[in-house]
């Protein structure tokens, strides 16, 4: 959902360390320590312990097992498919996300508030329900799927379905990052460029794009992370056919249900590692967005 993503752009506060104290308070701050220890301990147990346990379990028998588990054809194909899906989803949703943001900020049309809410829907809908919706609409017996099928185009249980599902779950990211920046920019500089004789394209490339740059990069990073990691929606629409429609997350699932834990752990660590790098990148982008 939009608001959550907008609120993710908060970085470490720079507030002064000392919390307020009563002028006469001189005792050891036991309550303070308890809150700090309790909260950090909770975070450690809830989030960091499982992450550490997976890494430990994966590398317990040395890095050789890890690399060996990533040698198979199925796992390579799965990561290749994830790469293809991610690239396509990022390209399409970056372009459409910018257009959508421009439409929401710069244009007025009847039902705009409702449309604005609809853009957030993919964050609220369960991934399984999303996948199911696409089966109902684009499946072999679906309203539009029948029509595509007669033209020889297979959507569900094929690559197009995986891409559509990924596009759906990542739709709001770019838009929600670009909208606030675009709103803040206002129309003054764009109008100035226009008065000076720039056409639409020139105005967009020279004025609008440089301003929304960091918000855009942040939105794209979130889109990449979600595309790589989407599981539910893709599982439902892809049919999970090994070497054909099995993405990396589906491969992890397959290996896990087949009790082939090494394969599942190794692929998980690769996916988790990429997510971790992307997380660090978003932190960096957040700082850049703030500086500008």
């Amino acid at each position: 959902m939009g608001p959550s993503v907008r609120r993710l752009r908060v970085s470490a506060s720079q507030t002064s360390p000392a919390p307020w104290t009563r002028p006469d308070a001189r005792q050891i701050p036991i309550g303070r320590w308890a809150i700090l220890a309790g909260t950090l301990g909770w975070f450690l147990i809830l989030v960091l312990l499982p992450v550490g346990a997976l890494v430990e379990e994966t590398f317990r028998h040395g890095p050789a097992t890890f690399f060996q588990a990533l040698q198979g054809q199925a796992v390579r194909h799965a990561f290749f498919l994830t790469l293809v899906t991610t690239v396509l989803a990022v390209v399409i949703n970056t372009v459409m996300g910018i257009l959508l943001a421009i439409l929401l900020v710069r244009h007025n049309f009847p039902g705009k508030a409702l449309f604005d809410g609809i853009v957030d829907l993919p964050f609220a809908v369960s991934p399984v329900v999303a996948g199911f919706m696409f089966i109902v609409l684009y499946g072999p017996h679906g309203l539009l799927g029948r029509w595509f099928e007669s033209g020889g185009v297979k959507i569900i249980y094929a690559l197009p379905g995986i891409i559509i599902a990924t596009l759906f779950v990542t739709l709001p990211f770019v838009t929600r990052e670009v909208v606030p920046v675009l709103r803040e920019l206002g129309t003054d500089s764009e109008e100035a460029a226009h008065t000076l004789g720039a056409n639409r394209w020139q105005t967009f490339w020279k004025v609008t794009l440089p301003t929304i740059r960091w918000g855009l990069v942040y939105g794209i990073t979130l889109t990449i992370a979600r595309s790589l990691g989407e599981f539910g929606a893709v599982l439902v629409v892809s049919g999970n056919i090994i070497m054909r429609t099995q993405t990396a997350t589906l491969y992890v699932h397959q290996e896990f249900t087949d009790f082939n834990y090494h394969g599942a752990y190794a692929a998980s660590v690769v996916l988790g590692g990429i997510s971790f790098v992307l997380l660090l990148l978003t932190e960096y982008w957040k700082k850049r967005t703030k500086e500008i």
């Binding site: 989030v47 990691g229 988790g272």
Partner: protein, 275 residues
């Protein structure tokens, strides 16, 4: 900037609108409309029977119960975490702040796998808990744990900016007037944070209702016991039983829409308070 169209030739504006509307139309609006029509097409009576069919109803009830448990815990821990990140200073704070979003970055079924590694029947901790009669994986605590993990950042990221913008003067005034710390928190700070806490909780709740990947791995998915609604839907799709899937999907969709509307109201409330 705004040139009026003078011919039948499409202007840039018209092309923009057509492109965006058809994209969102085919990707979001049409699929939701079609699935809703199909669900209502079953007839209200049939729809009712499908929702209250024991397995479906149990899955829905389990989902909502676990989401509530998660919401209560997350409201407290999330607010505390935001408090610690804004008001306290400790070594490694920037790292912790960056790691808060980790659950959003990880693929959900990888999250499930991690929890199985820690609490599963093969792990040391899992064995220890088992001998003491506590079952985590393939039981309800595992579901709640998975939901807590995947929704952890929502409340923190919702409360954090509001807390940062909170004027310390009021608190200091309350303290000068002799109010105890906890009283100051309850009477002065909490009312200001409430809209943002509830926003975070609503986002987390919505996510929890739909969560699939992590729960599917940890829950064991035993019908009438540990099968949540999204996993039920998945099972019905896989076994070519679209009616049950349609009915439960409709319930989840309606819940998502209701929460979105609630969030809209919460945001207005937060704005009215000037926080």
């Amino acid at each position: 900037m705004q040139r009026r169209p003078t011919h039948v030739i499409l202007t840039g504006d018209a092309v923009l609108k057509m492109t965006v509307f058809s994209y969102v139309g085919f990707l979001v609006i049409l699929p939701i409309l079609v699935i809703s029509f199909q669900a209502f097409g079953l007839g209200l009576g049939h729809l009712w029977t499908e929702i209250f069919e024991p397995q479906a109803f149990h899955a829905l009830r389990l989902t909502i119960t676990c989401a509530f448990a998660m919401a209560v815990i997350n409201a407290v821990t999330g607010t505390l975490m935001a408090w610690v990140l804004v008001r306290y200073s400790f070594p490694g704070k920037a790292v912790v702040n960056a790691l808060i979003d980790l659950p959003f970055a990880l693929p959900t079924n990888v999250t499930g796998l991690m929890l199985v590694v820690v609490y599963g029947p093969m792990s040391l901790l899992g064995k220890y808990l088992n001998t003491h009669g506590i079952e985590v994986i393939y039981a309800q605590p595992g579901i709640i744990l998975a939901l807590l993990f995947v929704t952890f950042p929502f409340v923190v990221r919702s409360v954090q900016p509001v807390l940062m913008g909170l004027d310390k003067d009021i608190e200091e005034a309350a303290a000068t007037l002799g109010a105890r710390k906890f009283l100051t928190f309850r009477k002065v700070i909490l009312p200001h944070l409430l809209p943002s806490i509830l926003t975070g909780v609503a986002l987390a709740f919505s996510r929890a209702l739909g969560e699939f990947g992590s729960v599917m791995v940890v829950a064991g998915n035993i019908p009438m016991k540990t099968q949540v609604a999204p996993v039920f839907i998945y099972g019905e799709i896989e076994s070519y039983n679209p009616h049950g899937a349609l009915a439960v999907s409709l319930v989840l969709l309606v819940c998502s829409l209701a929460i979105l509307m609630l969030l809209h109201r919460l945001q207005n409330w937060g704005r009215d308070r000037g926080t």
